[in-house]
């Protein structure tokens, strides 16, 4: 057996250990990315082989939590890919307007930048009061940072630009208060957001959604897990509900493809076909 294969085997065992001990199942993550992150943890730990981390994975909660944090890649910004938010505002919002209560789910919300972006958008469209935004992630560290709604002040400029590009109707500064070196989102936005721990790998449907945002999350999953996740979204969405994926993602090769129509192709906004 060559070195790479042994390493692969070690990674398998390591993931198995994590799963059996903590219930987090990373076995169906995209392998290349997963290997990179395991290697990173290995180099930080200062050990030589992946298998040497197994005892740590079993007995050391701090180690496990660090690994968990490694696994969730929290790249996010407010109104990331402004054109997506613009299209949501122009074409999706009018459809959502017909609902008396609107449920929105940000699956894999990371530090919440997109969640607050959505809240701002809904506020400006006069829909926030009818909305309930569920923001979920399996990474508690991200969640608690998202709950605080505090963002570094040096990012605000980028956010403002994005906000304008996304068709913002007022001034971005209306939505945050500046502290010493950070900006805190105003309370009115936070009222309608429910943050909760939810793991796309194991957990199920928890409410009926009119819109599901899951951007740049599934790129870390392998095909099976992607399909499982999309199944979960399909089961969560109301008839004719919306699904928004990352700009590099698509439904084209998934099992659920036939359940959706492409609503805005470029922005990767899909619409659930009517349940029959």
């Amino acid at each position: 057996m060559d070195k790479a294969k042994i390493n692969e085997l070690e990674v398998d065992l390591f993931l198995e250990a994590i799963f059996k001990r903590w219930g987090y199942d990373f076995r169906s993550y995209a392998r290349a990315s997963l290997n990179r992150r395991v290697a990173l943890r290995l180099s930080i730990t200062g050990l030589e082989r992946v298998s040497e981390m197994i005892p740590l994975a079993l007995h050391d909660q701090t180690f496990f939590e660090s690994f968990l944090a490694d696994m969730s890649v929290t790249v996010t910004e407010m109104f990331r890919d402004p054109s997506v938010f613009k299209k949501i505002r122009e074409t999706v919002i009018p459809k959502l307007r017909t609902y008396s209560r609107i449920n929105i789910w940000h699956a894999g919300c990371a530090t919440g930048a997109e969640v607050y972006s959505m809240a701002i958008l809904l506020q400006e469209e006069g829909l926030l009061e009818r909305c309930r935004i569920y923001a979920t992630d399996y990474n508690n560290r991200s969640l608690s940072s998202a709950k605080k709604a505090v963002f570094p002040i040096n990012l605000i400029e980028t956010y403002s630009e994005n906000y304008i590009k996304a068709g913002g109707k007022s001034s971005f500064s209306d939505y945050y208060q500046v502290g010493y070196d950070s900006a805190c989102m105003v309370k009115a936005l936070r009222n309608r957001i429910t943050f909760a721990n939810h793991n796309l790998i194991n957990d199920g449907v928890f409410a009926e959604m009119n819109l599901v945002m899951c951007r740049n999350v599934m790129i870390y999953f392998d095909r099976d897990l992607q399909n499982r996740t999309l199944r979960l979204f399909s089961d969560s969405l109301v008839s004719r509900g919306f699904l928004v994926l990352g700009t590099q993602e698509s439904l084209s090769y998934s099992d659920c493809n036939h359940e959706y129509e492409s609503f805005e192709h470029k922005e990767r906004i899909y619409r659930r076909l009517a349940h029959v």
């Binding site: 990315s33 790249v75 008396s100 429910t194 009926e208 089961d235 090769y253």
Partner: protein, 1431 residues
């Protein structure tokens, strides 16, 4: 006497003590000084040495690793050379080897420069091996080239093989050598690593020792000192053991450095032991000091120590001066290293961002390949262009930041990168040309390799930057530690001096009390300030304590401190007894206000007699205004790091000013050190978060790249599959074509065969006919009558056979395409005359009338094939005469009148000639009309016997008609005769396609249609009122016609009847409505313009009666009111004059809409316009509507009839939608259908929750709501929910038996999800439970407190305001609810989550999506238990 002597004795003893003290003090100062200079200097050299060793080792390690990589790269390239198919590629790999080799040599030089003798030997050995390797490698190249030549020229296979084997063997050899070298290097590097470990430990020990030493100096009691001394001793032992280990590992050169270190360290040890001694002595002195102070108070012997004091002072000043130098150097160092750190940080950042750009470019290239549209490609190529520019800018920036070694790497990178860009350019071009395959190969193959190469170089750079960052970080914190140490020593010095001087001062006081007091006051202040500044505080804490201490010491009433920012502004960072004031600003510029001025001038400014409102000091005693102000700049070398501003009620004394200026220098140093430290830690933090962020971003990019890669691959796979499919489709097509060709051939063969056969048959038949004819004539008269009869039969049989053969001949000729049409001018008059002549005898013999009728409109002639035309007409006529016993046969020639509907199917020319043959014969039943044109078909099998004929005549006629470009229409009613009409275009414009034989299918449709229309038009007159109302029995399908035009009504009635319905007719709306309520109707045909009540009103009333609302209404109207009518909810609308087809299809629509399947929707809405709008939305879909304009009607409807769906507006004139729901839900007989709330206003949360019991579909009216309404209705009508509706009643019935347990029990459902609330509460209500609803934990608690009847709670977990866990904990916190069953509903699947729920107080746990059966059994368990407990 005693009193006189005593002072003398005291004086004497005092003097001796004082002398000792003074000497000790002086010695102490000298000792401390030597520590300050020698100790510190030695230590920093020492540390630098160790650092150097560590750094060199690290660098060597890195270089070693790189060399290893280079070797691998070379080996790989070597292998590639052997396998490379072309010389070009070999050259490429050879160049790569060459390049790598030169890199390697460079690194080797570097490593040798860093290495000592022993290492150098190994390296030389390595060089030797490398040369060997290169030689072999060249050989390999040579062999490989030979190999390719050999192959190319196809000479000897064996020699090529040999060359290859040789090359490979050589390569294997090298690999082994390399591995050995690598192994030995690894050992060395392990040694180096160990050195680093020991070195670092030594460093740590040193730091610890120094700290302990510092503590010794500062400590006040002997025990403490001893403790520290012991610790130092232990550390020293540890240090030496490490040193010994290090020595063992170190080569000669290193040993000399270590010796140097040991020597320095020994010197330090000497100094240390003196320090210890002195410190101990000092502590004794301090004890004595108090005694002395007491004595000096008594002012005895003032002059005793003038001298000592003078010398002491001088020495102290000198020490201070030296200390200042050290401090300044350190501050400088710390600033410099901070800058270095910032630069390294920048470098790291830029390099990392470059990697990101590269990944993005790569990704854009891939996306571009996947993109199909030019516009899409433009987007991606634009972004590539943008990234390219960005990357170049970053590269330039990086160059300005990079050092020597890095510059070299950057050059390498630039080279690889430009290679990659070239390939990328190719990719773009190819993509645009749509040669995706090549582009893909490029981007996944060569492009990827180049990009990886470039990325690897930049990654190296990042790693290097990171390590240099780490080194500089260490450096910086080292310098910082050092400077802090120095500051501490300085401060200690002044403390000690303070102690010493205070003593000296006492003696000076003997001479001048005042002066001594002043000096003492200054020194004490300095000591106090030193204490405050030495604690390693953060900058803001530091400024606060500085200003507080200073102000307090000066007895000032208020004070603030300003510190410099990076941008030449100064911010107030601390204050004392100062709240805020209108003139005081937080941030100022140099030159701004008093403070700014002081900073600008770098001079102290004094202000007195301030205005009353300058500063107000808030205190409990009242408000007072300081009158005097002192602003002291904090100078450090040439710059000003800040200022302190002190306000006082009293004027400042010269002493106070002197003190403030004195300490300002120390403050400046402390502040600068603090600022540096703060900056360093901020930078560290920043670089940490930035590199984390970058790492994450890179990860995301990489993953999405890989995802894209995978997609590209599956696209590739798909493409291959499609290609494969295409190939098989092509194959199938070819096969099909072949088959078709074969078929064509065989068909021709068949026709030819038939033609030949008939010829062969005809010849003998001919003679048979002739002979039988002559036999019949009985010219010889010798035959019996019987024999003549026989001959006649033979003749007739032969004649029939001949006809048959002729017909078959004709048909097969046509089928074989052998019949040609010759157009000529055919005059109609002669044609008809000829036909009349031909058939008159037949008519006479059958006693029939034969009329030829050429109408006035008929043209004189027509351009067509006369022979064929005649053949067709002959056929018609012979049929007509054949099937007519009595009456007449008419041949009518006329011009087609387009205004009368002809039922023509194929022709749409305006100018058509019609030649009809009409008889009064047996007619053809409708269902047979399509058959008569088929070959060998007659109306029934028996007819042929009765009427004779081949049955081919009409087939041939049809085929011929097609050839002539005409069409035949048949109108016939059984027993009433038939009419065959031939339609021919006057101007024959036959294209070749009209000659093509029509397919049988099309033909059938056209004949079928024409048949049906005939039945409608040739009706027996019936009285208007004679409908079927007396014959209708249960189960009959009845259609009501409301139409005041009697003729049209009759026509309709006949059509209705012939479609198999019973028919009712009414001439006006009122009687129509009456009939509608009397009979169960299948459908209604309605005229709009009716006498009395108009059609719209009739529709309205029909729709408003539950009994009639369901029947589909078809409107046939002469008025153009379609919009209005359609909006009223009818099934269909026909404009008069309606074609027969329209009516026919209307009837078939009605037929299709089986009564059970037409969904009936009740629209409860008071606005007529909205009613119409809703109805028109569903136009064309099979839905029927009933309308209710007010709540009362709505309730009646709902209670009297089962609807499939209710659309409910909440605002109605008499009661609200909520009231309707409340009212009808009380009635247990009523099972509510799905309800859609269609409302114009936004609902409150309470309303939403209330409605959730009935529905989850709430539509807010707006521009997009129509679409949504259609969706929702469609969903209900097709969903299982709708189907379950009819079963609802049964479930209610079962309630009494099975689920009696649940009756009238109250449970609380807590969930914020509408779908759950609706679905669950519905299910639960059907069980007989009373369900209360709460949308979050808080509401649940309120409801629980309001309703003591609640026996069980179903609790969702994920909810706003208060989540399920929290709510359950609160519930359990209330004692009366401690036993209340709570079932948690959650989407979480892990066992831990279950444990969470139970921990939070749940009795049970069920996972979403909820299985209702499981929930029911859970409820049985928990509610049953409740009975047990309760009962």
């Amino acid at each position: 006497m005693m009193t006189l002597r005593e002072p003398k004795v005291m004086n004497k003893s005092l003097r001796s003590i004082s002398t000792k003290l003074a000497m000790a003090s002086a010695a102490l100062i000298i000792a401390i000084l030597s520590i300050g200079t020698v100790g510190i200097n030695a230590l920093s050299t020492l540390e630098r040495n160790v650092n150097q060793i560590v750094n060199v080792s690290v660098k060597k390690l890195q270089l070693g690793e790189r060399i290893q990589q280079d070797l691998l790269k070379m080996t790989r390239a070597g292998k590639n050379i052997i396998t490379a198919p072309s010389e070009d590629q070999m050259d490429g790999y050879a160049a790569l080897i060459e390049q790598t080799h030169s890199n390697l040599i460079q690194r080797l030089d570097l490593i040798q420069a860093l290495s000592e003798q022993e290492d150098s030997d190994a390296i030389n050995k390595f060089r030797q091996k490398l040369t060997e390797y290169m030689a072999v490698d060249n050989k390999v190249l040579e062999y490989s080239r030979l190999n390719s030549n050999v192959q190319a020229k196809n000479i000897s296979a064996t020699s090529a093989r040999k060359a290859f084997d040789n090359a490979e063997a050589a390569l294997r050899n090298i690999v082994t050598v390399n591995e050995k070298i690598a192994e030995s290097y690894k050992e060395q590097s392990a040694g180096a690593q160990l050195k680093v470990v020991h070195g670092t430990q030594i460093k740590n020990d040193m730091l610890l020792i120094l700290r302990a030493e510092r503590n010794i100096i500062l400590s006040t009691n002997v025990e403490e000192m001893r403790e520290y001394a012991d610790r130092i001793e232990a550390l020293q032992i540890d240090l030496f053991s490490n040193l010994t280990s290090l020595r063992k590992l170190t080569t000669e050169d290193g040993t000399s450095k270590l010796d140097k270190f040991t020597r320095t360290w020994d010197r330090w040890s000497d100094v240390y032991s003196r320090v210890l001694e002195l410190a101990l002595l000092n502590s004794n002195l301090r004890a004595n000091n108090n005694q002395v102070r007491e004595l000096s108070r008594e002012n005895i012997n003032r002059r005793a120590f003038d001298l000592a004091a003078g010398e002491g002072r001088q020495l102290a000043d000198e020490a201070g001066l030296q200390m200042d130098i050290i401090v300044k150097r350190n501050v400088e160092l710390s600033t410099q290293s901070t800058e270095l750190l910032a630069m390294a940080n920048d470098r790291l950042l830029v390099a990392s961002r470059m990697i990101q750009d590269m990944l993005a470019i790569h990704r854009a290239a891939k996306s571009l390949i996947l993109e199909k549209t030019q516009a899409g490609m433009d987007v991606f190529s634009d972004s590539i262009e943008r990234f390219k520019v960005d990357l170049q800018a970053k590269l330039n920036r990086l160059k300005t930041l990079a050092g020597g070694d890095e510059l070299y790497e950057l050059e390498l990178f630039e080279q690889s990168w430009s290679n990659f860009l070239a390939v990328n350019e190719q990719v773009l071009v190819l993509s645009r040309q749509n040669s995706n395959q090549f582009a893909l190969d490029l981007t996944t193959g060569k492009g990827r390799e180049l990009a990886d190469q470039a990325e690897a170089i930049i990654s190296d750079l990042v790693a290097e930057s990171e390590s240099s960052l780490a080194t500089e970080r260490d450096q910086s914190s080292r310098v910082y530690d050092e400077s802090i140490l120095v500051i501490l020593v300085t401060l200690t010095l002044s403390t000690i001096m303070g102690g010493g001087f205070s003593f000296l001062m006492i003696h000076m006081n003997i001479r001048s009390t005042e002066k001594n007091d002043q000096a003492h006051w200054i020194k004490t202040g300095q000591a106090e300030m030193a204490d405050v500044m030495g604690g390693g505080l953060k900058l803001d804490e530091l400024s606060r304590s500085i200003i507080t201490t200073l102000a307090k010491y000066l007895g000032a009433s208020v004070g603030v401190i300003y510190l410099a920012n990076d941008d030449d502004t100064y911010t107030q960072t601390g204050s004392y007894a100062f709240s805020s004031h209108k003139y005081a600003s937080k941030t100022i510029k140099a030159g701004e206000g008093t403070v700014g001025q002081a900073i600008l001038d770098a001079n102290t400014i004094m202000v007195s007699e301030l205005p009353d409102d300058y500063i107000e000091i808030n205190s409990g005693l009242g408000e007072a205004v300081p009158r005097h102000l002192m602003v002291v700049p904090l100078r450090l070398e040439d710059s000003v790091t800040g200022a302190v501003e002190i306000g006082s009620f009293e004027p400042f004394t010269a002493l106070q000013i002197e003190f403030a200026e004195l300490v300002s220098d120390a403050i400046a140093i402390a502040v600068r050190a603090g600022q540096n430290q703060e900056r360093v830690s901020r930078l560290l933090e920043e670089s940490q978060t930035q590199s984390e962020e970058l790492l994450a971003q890179q990860e995301e990019l990489r993953s999405s790249n890989e995802e894209l890669q995978e997609k590209t691959e599956s696209l590739e796979k798909q493409k291959t599959e499609i290609e494969e499919n295409n190939v098989s489709i092509m194959q199938a097509q070819t096969e099909l074509e072949e088959k078709a060709h074969e078929l064509e051939l065989s068909s021709t063969y068949k026709s030819q065969f038939l033609a030949n056969m008939s010829h062969e048959l005809r010849t003998p038949l001919n003679s048979m006919l002739l002979l039988s004819k002559s036999l019949m004539a009985d010219r010889n008269g010798n035959l019996h009558d019987e024999q003549i009869e026989d001959a006649k039969i033979i003749y007739e049989g032969g004649q029939a056979l001949l006809n048959l053969i002729n017909d078959i001949m004709d048909l097969s000729k046509i089928e074989a395409g052998m019949l040609t049409v010759i157009d000529e001018l055919v005059e109609l008059e002669p044609l008809s005359a000829g036909l009349q002549r031909l058939f008159d005898p037949v008519a006479t013999s059958k006693n029939l009338k034969f009329e030829v009728d050429i109408t006035d409109t008929a043209p004189e002639s027509i351009n067509t094939d006369g022979q064929r035309l005649e053949q067709i007409l002959k056929n018609f006529l012979s049929n007509a005469f054949k099937f007519t016993k009595t009456g007449k046969v008419i041949l009518r020639i006329s011009l087609h009148d387009p205004s009368t509907d002809s039922g023509l199917n194929k022709l749409n020319n305006k100018d058509l000639l019609v030649i009809s043959v009409i008889d009064t014969g047996i007619g053809i039943p409708r269902n047979k009309q399509q058959l008569v044109f088929d070959a060998f078909e007659q109306v029934d099998g028996t007819t042929s016997r009765k009427h004779g004929g081949t049955g081919l005549g009409l087939s041939i006629s049809r085929e011929l008609t097609d050839l002539l470009g005409g069409e035949i229409l048949l109108k016939s009613n059984e027993g009433e005769g038939s009419s065959f009409s031939l339609y021919l275009p006057l101007n024959a414009e036959r294209g070749s396609e009209t000659k093509e034989i029509q397919s049988a299918g099309q033909q059938q449709t056209s004949t079928a249609r024409s048949g049906l229309v005939t039945s409608a038009l040739e009706l027996r007159p019936t009285p208007y009122i004679t409908d079927d109302r007396n014959q209708i029995v249960e189960g009959d399908q009845t259609i009501l016609i409301i139409e005041d035009d009697r003729d049209f009504a009759e026509a309709l009635m006949d059509m209705v009847r012939s479609s198999g319905y019973k028919c009712l007719a009414a001439a006006d709306g009122r009687s129509g409505l009456y009939l509608a309520t009397q009979f169960q109707l299948r459908g209604i045909l309605l005229d709009m313009g009716l006498p009395g009540m108009d059609g719209l009103e009739v529709i309205r009333r029909l729709k408003y009666q539950a009994r009639t609302a369901r029947a589909p209404i078809y409107v046939i109207s002469g008025y153009d009111r379609e919009g209005e009518v359609v909006a009223s909810g009818v099934t269909g609308y026909l404009q008069k004059p309606a074609t027969k087809e329209d009516i026919e299809s209307a009837l078939s629509d009605i037929g299709r809409l089986s009564l059970e399947n037409i969904p009936l929707i009740l629209v409860i809405e008071d606005n007529q316009d909205t009613q119409r709008a809703i109805a028109s939305l569903f136009r064309g879909s099979n839905t029927e509507f009933a309308f209710a304009s007010n709540g009362k009607d709505a309730c009646t409807y709902i209670e009297s009839q089962q609807f499939d769906c209710i659309i409910l507006d909440l605002k109605l004139p008499d009661m609200s939608g909520f009231d309707i729901l409340k009212k009808v839900s009380w009635n247990s007989e009523v099972v509510l259908p799905p309800i859609i709330i269609y409302t114009g206003r936004q609902l409150t949360d309470e309303e939403n929750v209330y409605l959730a019991k009935f529905t989850s579909s709430i539509i807010v009216k707006g521009p997009e709501s129509p679409e949504r309404l259609i969706d929702e209705v469609a969903m209900f009508l097709h969903s299982d929910l709708a189907k379950g509706q009819s079963e609802g009643k049964q479930q209610v019935g079962m309630l009494h038996n099975d689920d009696i347990l649940f009756r009238d029990r109250t449970i609380l459902l807590v969930d914020d999800d509408m779908r759950n609330l609706y679905a669950l509460s519905r299910e639960l209500q059907q069980l007989g439970l009373d369900v209360l609803i709460a949308e979050n934990g808080q509401v649940a608690l309120d409801k629980l407190n309001e309703n003591p009847s609640i026996e069980l709670v179903l609790m969702d977990i994920m909810m706003p305001v208060m989540d399920g866990y929290q709510a359950m904990r609160k519930i359990r916190g209330i004692s009366k609810f401690s036993e209340l069953p709570v079932i948690a509903l959650t989407a979480k699947a892990m066992p831990e989550d279950r444990a969470f729920c139970i921990d939070a107080g749940a009795s049970e746990y069920i996972t979403k999506p909820i299985n209702v059966e499981i929930l029911k059994s859970m409820l049985r368990v928990w509610l049953f238990e409740r009975i047990e407990f309760g009962g």
